[in-house]
């Protein structure tokens, strides 16, 4: 039988993979996707507890989280396009200096 703990286990694993991706990777696209995976893990946690308490308020919160993720995607990806055009790289270490000095 599927218990509450197994759903919580899956969602915590997804969240942890997201945190590890933010810590370990230097590709800015992978960091963005790790943030999305963290949001997914938290959504799964919320939906699990919505089913557990038979209450629909966490599902509303999940709708909010998904719409915030959509807004974040638009802003983040346009910032990535700007950074990639000016620096020609996806390395996060280059982005620590935000001056436009060496632009070609």
């Amino acid at each position: 039988m599927i218990s509450l703990t197994s759903y919580a286990f899956v969602s915590m694993i997804l969240f942890s993979i997201g945190v590890i991706g933010v810590i370990a990777r230097r590709n800015i696209f992978v960091i963005y996707m790790s943030i999305e995976l963290m949001l997914n893990g938290i959504n799964l946690f919320l939906i699990t507890f919505a089913r557990y308490h038979f209450n629909m308020d966490p599902q509303i919160i999940t709708v909010m989280v998904i719409s915030i993720a959509a807004a974040e995607a638009a802003i983040f990806l346009s910032v990535i396009i700007l950074l990639f055009r000016s620096k020609k790289s996806l390395d996060t270490d280059i982005f620590t200096t935000l001056t436009q000095g060496e632009r070609s």
């Binding site: 039988m1 599927i2 218990s3 509450l4 703990t5 197994s6 759903y7 919580a8 286990f9 899956v10 997804l14 942890s16 993979i17 997201g18 945190v19 590890i20 991706g21 810590i23 370990a24 990777r25 230097r26 590709n27 696209f29 992978v30 963005y32 996707m33 790790s34 999305e36 995976l37 997914n40 959504n43 799964l44 939906i47 699990t48 919505a50 089913r51 557990y52 038979f54 629909m56 308020d57 599902q59 509303i60 999940t62 709708v63 998904i66 719409s67 915030i68 993720a69 959509a70 807004a71 995607a73 638009a74 802003i75 990806l77 346009s78 396009i81 700007l82 055009r85 020609k88 996806l90």
Partner: protein
């Protein structure tokens, strides 16, 4: 019995997709791993009686956001020399795992102390679009309006970010 097998398969694919996103060097493979993970999480939503959220996850995440990511990955024409060199990647992944394991143990211990409940799929209107809409427009109306303002700000912000370069060129 059937839902156990479906749960195991979906959670395996969710975790495997996340791990694939973590270890592949090319962002295109990472995006495909994330897509698998998101689709599996949508299936888990369906197992938890959240039918409306299942559709929203498929349409917004797997449809809109992943399409945006893949479109921009192809649009930027990323070559191998643009990717960062990550010589210590696996050591850092191990370090991150070592940081996250105690945190996970604490949360799982707290969750496993809760009284067990039956998580089967039930025949009711729980999670359908009609009760969710009623709840959203009655109890959560202020958050709903704030979210609409946030989406408007995001729209304006992305247009400003996309146009700024042209304005700079005209000034110079």
């Amino acid at each position: 019995m059937m839902s156990n097998i479906i749960f195991l398969a979906l959670s395996f694919f969710a975790i495997a997709g996340g791990v694939a996103m973590l270890v592949y060097r090319s962002p295109m493979y990472s995006a495909l791993g994330l897509l698998i993970s998101i689709l599996s999480v949508a299936g888990l939503f369906a197992l938890l009686n959240a039918t409306f959220l299942f559709m929203v996850q498929l349409i917004v995440y797997a449809g809109a956001i992943m399409t945006l990511i893949l479109f921009i990955l192809m649009f930027l024409n990323i070559k191998d020399e643009h990717l960062p060199k990550e010589p210590k990647k696996f050591a850092l992944i191990g370090l991150g795992a070592a940081i996250m394991v105690p945190f996970n143990i604490v949360i799982l211990k707290a969750v496993s102390n809760l009284p067990d409940a039956d998580m089967k799929i039930v025949e009711s209107s729980f999670g359908d679009i009609k009760p969710i809409g009623k709840l959203l427009y009655n109890d959560w109306i202020i958050s709903f309006e704030l979210i609409s303002i946030l989406l408007l700000i995001a729209l304006v912000g992305s247009i400003v970010l996309a146009k700024r370069k042209k304005v700079n060129k005209e000034d110079a």
